[in-house]
C-alpha cells in the first residue's frame, strides 16, 4: 500500500476535527440526559398524569437534542434507549441494574482520568508524540466521557445515584502504574502507557460483555451493548500499537499503517479471541455506591 505522507497529515487532522465535532455534538445531549434522569426520578412521586406529561416532554426534549447532535447519537439508538428509560411511567428499577451501571460508570471515570494523565506526558500528548497515538488518546478519552454520561443517565433514570468516582479496586493498580510511567524514559514509558490503557480497556469491555446477562432492564442493556463493542475496538487498536512498539516499529504507527512493511503476524494481533472473554470482568457491585 502506497503512503502519501502529505495527504496523511491532512487526513489525521481531518479525522481529529471530525471526531472533535462528534464528541462536541454528543456531549451536550448526554449531559442533558443525566439531568433529565435525575428530574425524572423526582417526578415519579407525583401524580400519574403529571408523570405521563413529564415523560412526553422528556421525549420531545431528547428528540430535539438528538437532532442538534446531527444524528451522531440518534443513529446509535442510545438516545432512544435512554429516552425510553426516562420516559417510562413505571421504572423497572432493580438493585442489580443500578449497581451494574454504577460500576460501569466507575470504570469509565478511571479510564478518563488515565487518558487525561497520559496526555500530560510529552510523548503521548505533547510535541514529541506520535500524532496517531495522540489523536487516539484524545478521541478515546472523549468517547469514555460519552460512555460515562450514558451510564450515569441510565443509572439516574433507574432511580440510582450517579457514580462519579473511580472503581476503588482498580485505583491502586492505576496509581502504581502511573508512578512507574512518570519515572520511565519516553520509549519504555509509551509502552507502559499503552499497556495500562489496554488493561483498562479490556476490563471495561469484558465487564460490559459480562453485564449483558446480568442486566434486567432492556434499555440499560441497549446502552451497554452500544458501548462494549467500542471498548473492544479500543483494545484492538491498542493491541496493534503495542505490538508495533514492542517491535521497535513505532514509526509505522500511521494512519493508514504501511501494510506492506508489516510482518504477517501483525494482521491478527489486534483481535486474538473469536469469542470475547469475561475472565477479567469486574464484579457487578465493585463500583456501586
Amino acid at each position: 500500500m502506497e503512503i502519501d505522507e502529505t495527504a496523511l497529515g491532512g487526513l489525521i487532522e481531518e479525522s481529529r476535527d471530525t471526531h472533535a465535532d462528534g464528541v462536541r455534538a454528543s456531549r451536550e445531549p448526554l449531559e442533558q440526559m443525566v439531568d433529565l434522569g435525575r428530574q425524572a426520578r423526582a417526578a415519579t412521586s407525583t401524580d400519574p398524569d403529571e408523570n405521563r406529561a413529564f415523560a412526553g416532554e422528556n421525549r420531545q426534549r431528547l428528540a430535539a437534542t438528538a437532532a442538534r447532535a446531527g444524528g451522531v447519537l440518534a443513529a446509535t439508538g442510545v438516545i432512544a434507549a435512554i429516552a425510553d428509560l426516562i420516559g417510562s411511567p413505571a421504572f423497572a428499577s432493580t438493585g442489580t441494574d443500578v449497581q451494574v451501571l454504577q460500576t460501569a460508570s466507575s470504570i469509565e471515570v478511571l479510564a478518563i482520568a488515565t487518558y487525561k494523565t497520559a496526555l500530560t506526558l510529552s510523548y503521548i500528548g505533547g510535541s514529541t508524540a506520535n500524532p496517531v497515538i495522540k489523536a487516539f488518546a484524545t478521541t478515546t478519552m472523549g468517547q469514555h466521557a460519552d460512555h460515562l454520561a450514558a451510564f450515569q443517565a441510565a443509572t439516574t433514570a433507574l432511580g440510582g445515584k450517579k457514580q462519579a468516582k473511580p472503581d476503588p479496586a482498580f485505583v491502586p493498580v492505576v496509581n502504581k502504574a502511573v508512578t512507574s510511567i512518570t519515572k520511565a524514559p519516553a520509549a519504555s514509558g509509551a509502552l507502559l502507557v499503552v499497556g495500562l490503557a489496554l488493561e483498562l480497556e479490556n476490563i471495561a469491555a469484558e465487564t460490559y460483555v459480562n453485564n449483558m446477562s446480568l442486566l434486567t432492564n432492556a434499555n440499560a442493556k441497549k446502552v451497554t451493548a452500544s458501548i462494549m463493542g467500542v471498548e473492544a475496538q479500543h483494545v484492538a487498536i491498542l493491541n496493534a500499537v503495542q505490538a508495533l512498539l514492542k517491535a521497535g516499529a513505532g514509526a509505522d504507527i500511521t494512519l493508514p499503517p504501511p501494510a506492506a512493511k508489516l510482518p504477517a503476524a501483525a494482521g491478527s494481533v489486534g483481535f486474538p479471541n473469536a469469542f470475547y472473554p469475561v475472565s477479567n470482568a469486574a464484579p457487578a457491585s465493585q463500583g456501586a455506591m
Binding site: Q143, P185, H234, G267, F271
Partner: protein, 280 residues
C-alpha cells in the same frame, strides 16, 4: 526520545509467539465458558419449546406426559460445539468466484425450517456468518489468482484469521440449532448476499475488498447488538455478547488499514442490523 523510537526488536517469530500465547489463553479460558453458555442456552430453548408444546397440548387434549418427554429430550448437550476452534468451513458455495449464491435447496442448507423465538435470531446469525466467510474466501481466492494486485502478508493473515473466527461463530450459532433438533444453517443471508455479490464484482484492489469486508463486519456487529434485545435466554445473551465485540474489532482493524479513524463513534448503532426475518 519519542514513541516512534525503538524499544526493542520483536521478530516475526516472537510476534507469532505472542499471538500464540493469546490464542492458548483463548482456548484455555474462553472456549470452555462459551461451551457452557451454549449448553445452557440449548437447555433454555428446549425448555421453552417444551413449555410451548405443553401449552399447546393442554389446549387440545390431555396426552401422556412420558411420551412428550421421550420426544423432546433426545438431543444431548454434549453434542454441542464439537469444535468451536475452527477447522474447515462447510459453507455452501464459499469457493465460488463471487462470494456466494443466495439460493439454496430447501432444508439441505438449513433454509425453510420453521423456527421461532431465539432460534430465528440464531439461524439468521449463522447465515450472516456464512456471508462473511464467503466474502473473505472469495477475496482470498481473487488475491491468490492475482486479481487484486500485491497483497501484503499482514492483510493475508488478517483475512485468514477473520475467516477462522467467523467459522467459529458460525459453528457456535449452528451448535444451538442442532442441539434444538434443527438443521444447521450453511446458506448465506438471502437478503444481504445479493448486495455483497454486486459489490464484490466491482472489487479490483485489496482496499476495495477491505471496504466490502468492513461493510459486512459492521452489519454483523450491529445485527448481534440488535439481537441482544431480542434473545430471551440469558445464556443466549452471553453468547451473542461474546461475538458482537469481535466483529467490531475486525471492523476497527479494517478501518485502520484503510486509513479511516478506527473507532469512529462513541457508540455502535443498529441501523445496519439485519432483522431475524431475513431467515424466516
Amino acid at each position: 526520545m519519542s514513541a516512534n523510537e525503538p524499544v526493542s526488536h520483536l521478530s516475526e517469530g516472537e510476534l507469532r509467539a505472542l499471538t500464540a500465547d493469546l490464542d492458548a489463553m483463548h482456548h484455555d479460558l474462553t472456549l470452555p465458558a462459551l461451551k457452557s453458555s451454549l449448553s445452557e442456552w440449548s437447555d433454555d430453548i428446549r425448555a421453552q419449546a417444551a413449555a410451548g408444546r405443553r401449552d399447546e397440548r393442554a389446549q387440545r387434549s390431555r396426552v401422556d406426559r412420558r411420551r412428550f418427554l421421550a420426544g423432546a429430550g433426545g438431543v444431548a448437550g454434549a453434542a454441542l460445539l464439537a469444535a468451536c476452534s475452527s477447522s474447515t468451513s462447510t459453507i455452501k458455495n464459499s469457493a465460488a468466484t463471487s462470494p456466494a449464491s443466495a439460493s439454496g435447496s430447501a432444508m439441505a442448507d438449513g433454509t425453510g425450517q420453521k423456527l421461532s423465538g431465539d432460534l430465528k435470531v440464531v439461524a439468521m446469525a449463522a447465515s450472516l456468518e456464512n456471508s462473511g466467510i464467503a466474502t473473505y474466501m472469495a477475496g482470498i481466492k481473487a488475491a491468490t489468482a492475482g486479481k487484486l494486485g500485491a497483497v501484503p502478508p499482514a492483510v493475508v493473515t488478517f483475512a485468514e484469521t477473520a475467516v477462522a473466527q467467523h467459522e467459529d461463530h458460525q459453528k457456535a450459532w449452528n451448535a444451538v440449532l442442532t442441539a434444538a433438533g434443527k438443521q444447521p444453517v450453511t446458506a448465506v443471508d438471502p437478503v444481504i448476499q445479493p448486495t455483497i455479490n454486486t459489490a464484490f464484482a466491482k472489487v479490483t484492489t485489496v482496499a476495495g475488498l477491505a471496504e466490502l469486508a468492513l461493510m459486512v463486519e459492521n452489519i454483523a456487529g450491529q445485527t448481534y447488538q440488535n439481537g441482544l434485545s431480542v434473545i430471551t435466554s440469558a445464556a443466549g445473551i452471553k453468547t451473542a455478547a461474546s461475538i458482537q465485540p469481535v466483529e467490531f474489532q475486525h471492523a476497527a482493524i479494517l478501518s485502520f488499514v484503510l486509513g479511516k479513524y478506527p473507532v469512529p463513534a462513541a457508540f455502535t448503532g443498529v441501523s445496519l442490523a439485519r432483522p431475524p426475518s431475513d431467515y424466516s
